[in-house]
Subunit: 488 residues, 2 copies
Amino acid sequence: MREPEGSLMAGEDPLGTAQAEELEAFRVEGERALDWAVDYLANNNRYPVLSQASPGDIRKLLAPSPPEEGMGLAGLVEEIERVVMPGVTHWNAPGFMAYFATTASPPGILGELYTAVLNQNALVWQSSPAITELEPVVLDWLRQMLGLPEGLFGITYDTASTSTLCAVAAAREVAVPGVGERGIDASVGLRMYASEEAHSVVDKAAMILGIGRENIRKIAVDSEYRMVPEALEAAIRADERDGKKPFCAVATVGTTSTTSIDPVPVIGQICRDHGLWLHVDAAYGGAAAILPEMRWIFDGVDQADSVCLNPHKWLMVPVDISAFYTRRPDALKRAFTFVRPYLETRFDESVVNLSDYGPQLGRRFRGLKLWLVIRAYGVDGVRQRLRRSIDLAREFEAWVGSDRRLQLMAPRPFSTVCFRAEPHGRSEEETNAFNERLLERVNASGRAFISHTVLNGAYTIRVAIGNMWTAEAHVEALKQEIERAMDG
Amino acid sequence: MREPEGSLMAGEDPLGTAQAEELEAFRVEGERALDWAVDYLANNNRYPVLSQASPGDIRKLLAPSPPEEGMGLAGLVEEIERVVMPGVTHWNAPGFMAYFATTASPPGILGELYTAVLNQNALVWQSSPAITELEPVVLDWLRQMLGLPEGLFGITYDTASTSTLCAVAAAREVAVPGVGERGIDASVGLRMYASEEAHSVVDKAAMILGIGRENIRKIAVDSEYRMVPEALEAAIRADERDGKKPFCAVATVGTTSTTSIDPVPVIGQICRDHGLWLHVDAAYGGAAAILPEMRWIFDGVDQADSVCLNPHKWLMVPVDISAFYTRRPDALKRAFTFVRPYLETRFDESVVNLSDYGPQLGRRFRGLKLWLVIRAYGVDGVRQRLRRSIDLAREFEAWVGSDRRLQLMAPRPFSTVCFRAEPHGRSEEETNAFNERLLERVNASGRAFISHTVLNGAYTIRVAIGNMWTAEAHVEALKQEIERAMDG
């Protein structure tokens, strides 16, 4: 590190004393926060996984008005314990098996600490060469791990909501060049396609982008909740006959409800034949492609125009980070770029400014935590952790299959098991109510948190294994609670 | 904390040993990271403020492929030093006076640490009662600090880009009910309004939302870069005569270029008269309303439909967090809500699910860091820090005013000074080139980083004071470098 001539060290600074005092307090309270974090991660089984708060409980713990005098840094950890912890549902605990389970791993947490301290903002290249250059390399590492084709443009967004929005925005720009300038003309008749099982982020993208939810054709799924490609092609053909403009399809690798996998190779061919942008939403499931034995889940994705997966789901990175790849960065840029003089720099011709490729101008150092996770664990360590989730889910699935009171409700390609109890001689409605009670009892036990979906009217329990600390003992505890709830 | 019956403590866990080892490594490397952070913050003057990297320098420091074997946690801080630091532009250093200066304060950094460890995601209330209930209270604290009216609905987004998008989306929904369902019909002729000096996020919102940049009327500004309300009203009237549908205006309190303040009271009256949604973008300037002597900047904002400001700019909170307030949360919800069965809970009637009020389903615990900053510093401490920025800017402005070679280019309502050098007998073009060189020399010194804008064709230097560690000595150093650059 070079020291600029005449630089001001803290000692010469008239505010140096106050600063030195605050930094010393930061060191002390930071050490307490770190001790607390280690203790929390070592013992997070001590909390009920699902917060046992009732609506309004946390609000009551807070003063109605801000304090006039500050408390300083000393004692902030006690405030976290007092106010925050009662309202925490423990996403970072091994008993969390709801929605999709996630992990904020130690290297990921350290990544967030560095991100906060450095407070980078990649408005343009020069405002953070570190973000602007590290992020594409780390995304290329991840691309290689996933077996995706060379040459893809990679960028991070916060969530799959934004990744999907960006994919559809780029597709819209390709279908109607200049749409950002002129706005949408409904007479163009834009139509997009996704299965009935696609995530609601597809609906939100159509709402936000002015396409309208009515102009999404929801394509039927087969008995295993996968898009029926013949139905997709029929819908596209019908719309073409009606003078509509099919422009985008979203296929899902690992749907949120059952983790089904749409037949991407066939869908890709249909999209090419009809000139549609194909976006593959692999927010949860995509990570599994890092395992050689699971790479098949990305069959056909090399033909997609864009694909996203969320490292904050199953790749041990704290929320939020969604990795987005596209073969057509020019379309993405046309959909979003608009630059003002106060951001022009002499580097603009020779660098990529990431803010040209998404809705937000501001951009925190989101790639740093992913980089540290891959550095710390290596590809091998990432694979081991993914395999453990899948192995545990396979065992749990076998247990469900072996109990005649339980019924598997969908195939399990990844680490999420869908099932329900089927007590004898009950109506469908009674069976639903029984399973809803079962879920509530398990969650009330505090030992696990699981969630549900609804499949063809059937209330279905989802057990999603994905926290890297989840071990056999936690799955055993879940089984015990399910047994107990069924018996009770 | 209650311990659920039969919970599994780390010791009983078959993976306990590996977990215990990783957590011990986390403690050790975490302490090194914390030491590094304290040292960095105490001595960040030792780095050139603007990264001295050339395009490609950081990329070269990274391996082209991910490591097969992980390095573990030990030594990550050396990796940060080796790879990241050369590409860091020091946003968190006192010499940073470019764009808008920011601070990741110690309590804000601790907030990010807790956020990462707990890894909350507020999909719905029960998935994080802590986020869902703490965030509205903290935003209400901030509302009180700002003197905004009671009863406003507050929510955080990542950036002002998203806040603006949400404001315009809600306005669009009010103007064309059901637009999310049916999409935009260009024949409706939606028109929106913002001054020539409004931020590019307004343009991006119109592009993304399908309104089209052509349908933004850019309203003229006066000699102090404030929207001319008569021009706004004339534009609205002309559009109404043409059968267009004016639906939204964006006023700015603290424009990005010169920090000018649009006449919100008059603009608000015009919007009410013509039935437009008024959004006030106070991303940078809004924080100043916390000072009683600056509260006037929010005159008329009580009449706005929505307003946003970014605590990650001038309120000592690490990036990203934008605070958004609206009188009309129902419109915001209609613009974004769409729920799937797997997210329905028995609480949905009795709680607010924050994901219903924005583009993203996923939501990290963004309010925590703002809460800790207000707790640690108190309203009084926040005011002291804001005042110091303004005092330093006032002194710097006086210095510019006292040097006949320098010319102030715009009024300074906040802590940002716009000026240029005006060497004798030079053409406008030569003057621009002279100032561009001046800026580059100052930035090359490493002692400060300042940026520019262009005002009526004139290359203009911006000095934005806002990092809470910036003291007189840093402004003195900047003055020295400006003098040196002018003389050289």
